[in-house]
């Protein structure tokens, strides 16, 4: 067993990569997680400070040295701050709000929801159903320690009979009752949302102290789930997984259409290194994850991005649309368009 030539290379130790690392390590695979950032500990997020952490963007990549390049309607590239990424191992899962709602049944069948799909889009139904995913949702809710309550109202997604979240919902906010009443009067069925925030001590992580420095900040007591306090730590504890910090993957290596490994740098000005594995998982956020695959000849980027940005003007940019300028450490302003589309959850709060 060697972490230099593992069974699996995982690029990115965030929400997706770390969950995969834990699942694979438990099944006995050797896993090497390459992450371009360093690990932050809970105390790194203290003392609380809105200026430092939020206004001055201490936890997100600098738009100067690690930007996204946005090409809007003017066609002129502009560097923007990637506020949706965290600049630490764990990525956005370290600064998110941790609302951990399952996909709804409808999310799996977006194409079927429309009689005619929106012009210019290539919406597809997923080849899997909610029911296929249900056991994995349950498993993720356990691993990530989700607090919540099943079956509160009909607007929640369906749960298996007898299923309950690992811990009860968080104590309601003083405004909760007012909001519930108001929405109910408007004919909706609000419910207390499931969150990866501890409502009680669990797995060495304490209950939330409602510090007020939550979304956009790191949690100073790890009661809010982040990949490194929920799954990556457990993956490493199995002895089958190693995290390599400061390893920035630059591209995927392939031969005859088969991925063989990755290239990475440990110093922005240093040489590229190479690592091989039979299986490579790239998990550096949805759109960025496509970037290291550019070198693959048989992938149609246009096709894979279209479904993400359906209906947006970015379609007009053709093949260069919608590619985030990761990985970082670059000063060039490549004329790459980034346009992150978003499906509003198909299911509203209505019954």
């Amino acid at each position: 067993m060697s972490f230099d030539a593992p069974d699996v290379i995982i690029v990115g130790g965030g929400a997706g990569g770390s969950t995969a690392a834990y699942a694979l390590a438990k099944r006995g695979f050797t896993v090497t997680v390459l992450d371009k950032c360093q690990t932050y500990q809970a105390e790194d997020f203290t003392p609380f400070d809105e200026l430092h952490f939020a206004s001055f963007g201490a936890l997100t990549p600098s738009p100067v040295t690690d930007p996204d390049v946005y090409v809007g309607h003017s066609g002129k590239p502009r560097k923007v701050n990637r506020w949706w990424v965290g600049n630490m191992v764990g990525g956005a899962s370290m600064i998110w709000e941790s609302n951990l709602i399952r996909f709804t049944k409808e999310d799996f069948q977006v194409r079927s929801l429309f009689d005619t799909p929106p012009a210019g889009s290539s919406l597809q139904d997923w080849p899997w159903s909610y029911e296929t995913f249900e056991p994995y949702f349950e498993r993720a809710e356990d691993e990530w320690g989700v607090s919540g309550k099943a079956g509160q109202t009909s607007s929640q997604e369906p749960f298996r009979a007898g299923y309950e979240y690992p811990t009860p919902p968080l104590a309601p906010h003083p405004s909760t009752q007012f909001l519930q009443d108001t929405f109910a009067r408007a004919g909706m069925s609000p419910y207390l949302g499931p969150k990866g925030i501890n409502s009680m001590d669990r797995d060495d992580c304490p209950e939330c102290m409602f510090c007020g420095f939550c979304q956009g900040y790191g949690c100073s007591i790890t009661d809010r789930a982040g990949s490194n306090s929920r799954v990556l730590n457990k993956a490493v504890e199995t002895g089958k997984c190693e995290l390599r910090e400061n390893h920035c993957v630059t591209r995927v290596d392939h031969e005859n259409g088969v991925v063989k490994g990755v290239y990475y740098k440990t110093d922005p000005d240093g040489p590229e290194h190479h690592m091989t594995a039979p299986l490579v998982i790239v998990a550096v956020q949805a759109i960025q994850s496509a970037q290291p695959y550019w070198a693959l000849p048989h992938v149609s980027y246009q096709g894979c991005f279209r479904s993400l940005v359906s209906g947006s003007r970015a379609l007009e940019f053709g093949p260069r649309l919608c590619a985030a300028l990761g990985p970082g450490w670059t000063e060039d302003s490549l004329s790459i368009a980034t346009h992150i589309g978003q499906f509003t959850a198909a299911r509203s709060l209505h019954d």
């Binding site: 105390e43 003392p47 809105e50 200026l51 952490f53 206004s55």
Partner: protein
């Protein structure tokens, strides 16, 4: 490791410039003594800016840009005060400052070069004024946590009449 707040090292503005910032801030977030509300002067918001602008870009990447902005814009703004009111910004009355800032905030202050960027400068001033009022006092403003005491954040609420 706990994050180490930067230690203020020196001041950015000379005496007259600081007096001008102080005057502008005094009307961006004025005290309302009859309602018990402290203002930017009570909070020393100008001290916050005076310290902030000497920090390195490692504290925040916009700081060098802000330095250049204040160096460039404040003298031009003072020229405009001289032009309209025949006196420096720090000598304007509250009403004059209000009219001056209102015009600046909508980009309609007469006598400034076209490329001055009035709205941008006003919003930078306003942002720094509010940060100096409400941010943690470790940054040099919010003197004695006055704004937090008024808000009742970390303290019991107090009035400042």
């Amino acid at each position: 490791m706990e994050w180490e707040p930067p230690t203020p090292d020196g001041q950015f503005f000379d005496g007259p410039s600081l007096a001008r910032i102080k005057a502008l801030f005094s009307r961006i977030f004025p005290a309302r003594a009859n309602e018990g509300v402290p203002g930017a002067i009570d909070a020393g918001a100008f001290d916050y800016l005076d310290h902030l602008l000497v920090f390195e870009a490692s504290v925040y990447r916009e700081i060098p840009k802000w330095r250049a902005l204040y160096r460039h814009a404040l003298p031009i703004l003072n020229e405009a005060a001289l032009h309209h009111y025949d006196t420096n910004i720090e000598n304007l009355t509250a009403d004059q400052l209000d009219a001056f800032l209102t015009a600046l905030s909508s980009g309609s202050l007469a006598g400034l070069p076209d490329d001055f960027g009035q709205i941008h400068f006003f919003s930078t001033l306003r942002q720094h004024c509010l940060q100096g009022c409400f941010s943690d006092s470790r940054w040099g403003g919010n003197a004695d946590d006055i704004m937090w005491r008024w808000l009742g954040y970390q303290y019991d609420r107090e009035d400042f009449s």
